[in-house]
């Protein structure tokens, strides 16, 4: 059971603002799903290792070489998508 105080706590961890209307519904919906997944406690998982990676690949490296020119152009486009930027940096509200 996820009560309303827990909903508020989770929302603050997730950086989500939830309205008073949403809190009640979220408390009900989250509790329903968590109640459903409780079934997993019945499965015997002793000596079972968790699936940490769905792919069979391990330690995929790239060559340590010069980035190509296209990457630099893309980087500029990405910076330009930010609401505010200055001298190639994304500008945010003051932190301190």
């Amino acid at each position: 059971m996820i009560d309303e105080d827990q909903v508020k706590h989770i929302a603050s961890l997730a950086r989500l603002k939830v309205s008073d209307d949403e809190i009640g519904k979220l408390s009900k919906d989250l509790s329903a799903v968590l109640d459903y997944v409780k079934e997993l406690n019945k499965v015997d998982v002793s000596d079972v290792s968790p699936t940490l990676n769905a792919s069979s690949s391990e330690n995929v490296f790239r060559d340590d070489d010069e980035p190509d020119k296209q990457d630099a152009e893309l980087a500029k486009k990405l910076i330009d998508s930010a609401p505010e930027n200055e001298d190639g940096y994304i500008k945010v509200k003051s932190i301190l």
């Binding site: 827990q6 950086r15 329903a32 799903v33 459903y36 769905a54 069979s56 790239r62 930010a82």
Partner: protein, 475 residues
């Protein structure tokens, strides 16, 4: 027009023999979209002038006597969570309503190299979270077989576009059934490739250990043609692998087909069960060996999915913060950094996505990790082992794609678990990472039913051979 019954290979031959120009082909589908899509609403956006330019380029190549690729000039629809450079990619979310993709997804680059024509971007559940396309922040897409029913989801727009002949093929993404379930609901073919077979670079991520891009098409061979064109290792997606070339000579009649009893459950539509059992009988009569098998952890798959998927969602959604791109309150009312995060996300992100972010944050939070996330990952291993064991006995597995046919609008929006159950037969496949295809196999009250074939890792060709033979069997 005859073109509607043509496969990609047939259209390709017609283009090469100049029986039809690529521009005529594109014009034809643009007219179809103009007349049909005001009712079906499969597309979020169209760029017809660019589509025409792409088609003209193909016609010029043909005129100059150049070789053209199999997908040259073939009109396609692309799910709106796949990036096309310079075109809006909203993932059906308010937070990306005005976001223009700054680069091409790898699958798009591959299609562009073949000179495919992009007709537009298709509607979906917001960030691919949903099973009916009702979670789109913009509008609902209708099922072309019955406009009062959902097309399924989350690739509902792509499935509806193919089913209503508004394109030759479409791309979708499948995290827990989002290609196969709408394909089944709309009556088209949908393939979820092996995890790692297709690069996800440029796919807006939902749950990264589960997401795959795949085709929605009218025939199994069309799905093969598109899959062959988009698969392969990509240095920009570290989970993508070199696709092992495996020859598969066996047709349907030579296959040992496993039927898992866990996929014929209480609560599923009896009529769907009857259709599937009848189709299995037809395959048996055609010479296939049918064997009942066990996939004992099937009943746990949805629980595993509803821990792992939201956990990964909560991590992937952290990037929508009003700082880097997308909707932001940075320049308006927000006075400090925290309120930019909170207000941008509050206005930009819809209820289902928020719920999954909350759920994921909870199961990953201190004190709960072992009870939920670690345990789910352990049961996931059990599910994968079930498939390994099954494939040591049989070549392929056949199941229903969904427990019911397409439901009505609003029918499952209130009860959170009812909607999730629509994916009960598709979710285990993503957890194990194996490939699966949904093939239309009949209708109940005019609503399509899908037959799902599941094959071992990297055995897509087994799916295509079996699916093609099955299509011939019922045609």
């Amino acid at each position: 027009m005859e073109i509607l019954s043509n496969s990609i290979r047939e259209i390709h031959e017609k283009l090469k023999k100049k029986e039809m120009s690529a521009l005529e082909l594109t014009d034809f589908f643009m007219d179809e979209i103009k007349s049909k899509d005001k009712d079906i609403k499969a597309f979020l956006s169209n760029d017809f002038s660019e589509a025409k330019k792409q088609a003209e380029k193909v016609d010029l190549a043909i005129k100059n006597g150049n070789e053209i690729s199999m997908l040259s000039g073939i009109p396609a629809a692309i799910k709106d969570n796949i990036l096309i450079d310079g075109i809006k990619a909203t993932a059906s979310s308010k937070i990306l309503e005005n976001y223009v993709a700054p680069y091409d997804a790898t699958v798009i680059l591959k299609l562009k190299k073949q000179d495919s024509v992009f007709l537009g971007k298709t509607n979906m559940d917001e960030f691919a979270m949903g099973s009916s396309t009702e979670n789109s922040a913009f509008f609902k897409t209708k099922n072309p077989n019955d406009l009062s029913r959902v097309p399924g989801g989350s690739s509902g727009g792509s499935a509806a576009a193919v089913a209503s002949n508004q394109c030759v093929f479409a791309l979708g993404s499948d995290t827990g059934g989002s290609i196969r379930q709408p394909a089944s609901f709309c009556g088209v073919v949908g393939l979820k490739p092996t995890y790692g077979a297709v690069s996800r670079y440029g796919l807006i991520a939902m749950a990264s250990s589960l997401d795959q891009i795949g085709p929605l098409t009218k025939t199994v061979d069309d799905a093969r043609v598109v899959f062959e064109s988009i698969k392969g290792k990509d240095k920009k997606d570290a989970t993508s692998v070199m696709y092992p070339e495996k020859l598969q000579e066996k047709g349907l009649k030579d296959l040992k087909i496993g039927i898992p009893k866990e996929y014929f459950i209480e609560g599923m539509d009896k009529k769907v069960e009857d259709v599937i059992k009848n189709e299995i009988k037809k395959m048996e009569d055609a010479g296939a060996k049918i064997e009942e098998i066990d996939l004992p952890h099937t009943k746990d798959a949805l629980s595993v999915y509803y821990v792992i998927m939201p956990a990964e969602v909560s991590s992937n959604m952290a990037r929508y913060d009003g700082i880097k791109y997308g909707f932001s309150t940075h320049k308006s009312d927000s006075e400090d950094l925290l309120s930019v995060y909170l207000n941008s996300r509050a206005e930009g992100i819809g209820p289902e996505v928020k719920k999954r972010m909350m759920l994921g944050t909870y199961v990953l939070s201190a004190g709960y990790y072992d009870a939920y996330y670690k345990r789910a990952q352990q049961v996931r291993t059990k599910i994968t082992e079930d498939f390994k064991k099954a494939f040591s006995k049989v070549d392929i597995i056949a199941t229903p794609t969904t427990p019911t046919t397409a439901f009505s609008f609003g029918e499952k929006t209130e009860d959170p678990l009812a909607m999730y159950l629509a994916d009960i037969f598709t979710v285990p496949i993503n957890l194990a990472g194996v490939p699966a295809i949904s093939v239309p196999c009949g209708k109940i009250n005019n609503m399509p039913v899908g037959l799902q074939f599941i094959a071992p890792w990297f055995c897509e060709e087994t799916l295509f051979k079996a699916g093609e033979d099955y299509e011939k069997l019922i045609s």
